[in-house]
């Protein structure tokens, strides 16, 4: 069972992610801030992280940069309310980019795609 870290400062959204992604068969751990996310990343190991861009004290992009620097094997998907960051150079570090939507199918597809890619890379 793949283990996901979901970072979003909105409690309801974390709840929704946890519910929907658990239904998909993933083990979901949530974090409300970049700091909490870093703590969890240091304590446990994950297969993939889903990050929001607008976090309270640190932007998701900054967190993404830290993850890439320190744990470059962990795939990251940015899931945000803005579509404009897609063309931002700094967002290109992420393995996937999804615009937030009540229909979470796109995010689920993206998670499956990125995990499959990761697995393929590992077997090679």
């Amino acid at each position: 069972m793949a283990k996901l870290l979901v970072v979003d400062d909105e409690a309801n959204i974390r709840l929704l992610y946890a519910q929907e992604l658990s239904d998909e068969g993933y083990q979901v751990v949530t974090a409300a801030s970049a700091l909490e996310a870093v703590e969890k990343l240091e304590a446990e190991s994950f297969d993939l992280a889903v990050l929001d861009i607008k976090l309270k004290n640190e932007s998701g992009i900054e967190l993404l940069q830290r993850i890439v620097k320190e744990r470059h094997t962990l795939p990251v998907i940015l899931c945000t309310a803005f579509s404009c960051y897609k063309d931002d150079f700094s967002a290109w570090l992420a393995d996937g980019y999804v615009v937030k939507s009540s229909d979470m199918q796109e995010l689920k597809d993206e998670i499956a795609r990125v995990l499959a890619k990761k697995q393929k890379a590992a077997t090679n």
Partner: protein, 540 residues
């Protein structure tokens, strides 16, 4: 004694004096004037004097002295009068020319009057004249204009024409400016091109004349070892006058005048008259050139002001747009998250509820409405995104094919036939691919909406000057004026244009990238949307 001449008679009968001509009939009754004007020259009077001498008249010995002296004085008076008349004519001519020169700001008019005055018979009567002017950088003196005939044939023809026309000098100058100025500039091109001389070349005759502020008359140039024969060879004459044009110590240029056709010698008087004339000409030329430069500067200033105003307007517009972008982006963010929660949980609930649950329809409504709100939000965010296009060169026909392929199903359902007329030889267009795709999609959707009962959609691409034209035509209901006006107002909606920012966003996107969108609605039915796209980088 009976005298042969009528000098002794107070009044005479007509025809008694053969020397009284037509128009002088008053002399018959005017004794004094008749004697002074006619009798003193009359051979009969001389005969009478001789007879007087023989008859012993006491004054008859001295009268011939008085008569001779009188005749000499009269001749001198006549010569002075003629000189005075010629000077009066010259002053009148200078005044006439001077008046135009003083008032004109037009360089061509000044040139025309000056050169006509030098070369016309009614002016200084020189055969040919060249005007050379110092260039803007004040480095060289350059041939500017030549006036006069090229050969004998042209000379006689021109002089005959002028003689017949009976134009005044002013009229001649005006005629010259209107009909000949441009051709004369070309006519002596070969000579004028060879007359360029650096102002620093002190020894050259032009610079000597300018430095000495005096005209130089060159005579017998081809045989004079002291002179540079080059200039005489270029001009094809060995006698010419070099007249400096100086205004307030500024070297304006030089006039070269010669009699290349008649070979009439250039007199000291010609030189003096031309020298007097050179002062107002130099002044007028300087003023006209300065005025011309002033006009150029004013035009540049105007253009710069216009550009500045446009830039300012653009900045204001961009600031407004940036503000709109910021607001919409912030609103979108604060709305998208709650929407995601509402819609997301509704979907979760919907998934878990049994098929026969009555409340499913409520949940379905929440999901549907949330989805719709999210679509509107995406559009609003697209609007703010349009403020930051990513420009690159793209194949427009490929873009059209991709967008139309996406809409194929919708067109089929609406019973719309799509006809593509794409020019195969199009240059690449400089666009933001995503944004132009959005525009084409929105316009095509609007066109499809106008053809609810089916119809024909025509999509054309063609070269348009240095740009590319994309035209989308529908056969549906024409857009109302109100709908067309809505194009210029963001977030303005009409029923026929559907929801959201639609066409107004398209127009904004296109214009921000230096392109344009225009709509023509035909009263009989159908609308044509024309988009003109740029093929190279513009200063926008």
């Amino acid at each position: 004694m009976d005298w042969e001449c009528c000098w002794s008679k107070d009044e005479i009968a007509p025809e008694s004096c053969p020397y009284v001509g037509e128009g002088e009939e008053d002399l018959y009754a005017s004794h004094r004037r008749r004697v002074v004007e006619k009798c003193v020259e009359c051979p009969r009077f001389k005969n009478d004097l001789a007879r007087m001498k023989g008859s012993g008249y006491p004054l008859s010995d001295v009268l011939p002295f008085i008569l001779t002296e009188f005749q000499e004085q009269k001749a001198q008076m006549g010569a002075m009068l003629s000189f005075l008349n010629s000077k009066t004519r010259e002053i009148k001519f200078l005044r006439e020319v001077g008046l135009v020169l003083q008032t004109s700001m037009d360089l061509d008019e000044v040139l025309s009057i000056a050169m006509t005055a030098i070369t016309a018979g009614k002016g200084f009567g020189m055969n040919r004249a060249f005007l050379l002017m110092t260039d803007k950088e004040r480095r060289n003196i350059r041939g500017y204009l030549g006036v006069g005939p090229k050969d004998y044939e042209e000379a006689w023809r021109t002089w005959e024409d002028i003689g017949r026309s009976n134009f005044s000098l002013k009229e001649l100058a005006r005629d010259f400016q209107k009909t000949k100025l441009s051709s004369e500039k070309v006519k002596f091109h070969d000579i004028l091109n060879q007359l360029t001389v650096p102002l620093a070349e002190q020894g050259h005759i032009f610079n000597r004349a300018l430095h000495g502020k005096k005209p130089i008359l060159v005579e017998n140039a081809l045989n004079n070892p002291d002179l540079d024969r080059g200039l005489a060879r270029i001009l094809g004459v060995d006698c010419f006058l070099v007249m400096p044009l100086i205004s307030r110590n500024r070297r304006i240029g030089v006039i070269i005048a010669d009699n290349c056709i008649t070979h009439k010698p250039i007199t000291l008087q010609d030189m003096q008259s031309l020298e007097t004339f050179a002062f107002p000409v130099a002044f007028a030329l300087e003023r006209a050139s300065l005025y011309e430069r002033l006009q150029e500067e004013v035009a540049k200033q105007k253009a710069a002001n216009l550009k500045l105003r446009e830039q300012q307007e653009l900045i204001v517009k961009m600031e407004k747009m940036a503000l709109v972008g910021k607001i919409t982006s912030s609103i979108a963010h604060s709305i998208r998250n709650p929407l995601m929660v509402i819609g997301g949980f509704a979907r979760t609930l919907l998934k878990g509820s049994p098929e026969d649950d009555e409340k499913r329809s409520y949940l379905e409504s929440i999901v549907r409405e949330t989805r719709q709100l999210e679509d509107v939000l995406s559009e609003v965010l697209d609007y703010s995104e349009s403020l930051f296009p990513v420009m690159d060169f793209w194949d427009l026909n490929e873009l059209i094919a991709t967008v139309l392929a996406d809409l194929e199903v919708g067109m089929e359902q609406a019973g719309v036939v799509c006809r593509q007329e794409l020019s195969p030889e199009l240059p690449m267009v400089r666009i933001d691919y995503k944004q132009i795709s959005y525009c084409l999609k929105t316009i095509t959707s609007t066109a499809l909406a106008a053809m609810a009962r089916g119809g024909e959609l025509r999509v054309e691409s063609m070269q348009d000057g240095d740009g590319v034209m994309l035209r989308i035509s529908d056969s549906g209901k024409p857009l109302t004026k109100k709908a067309q006006e809505a194009l210029t107002a963001p977030f303005f909606q009409t029923q026929e244009m559907g929801e959201g920012v639609g066409l107004s966003l398209c127009k904004t996107i296109l214009e921000r990238q230096g392109n344009s969108l225009s709509i023509i609605s035909r009263p009989g039915g159908g609308n044509t949307y024309s988009i003109r796209l740029l093929t190279r980088k513009e200063n926008i």
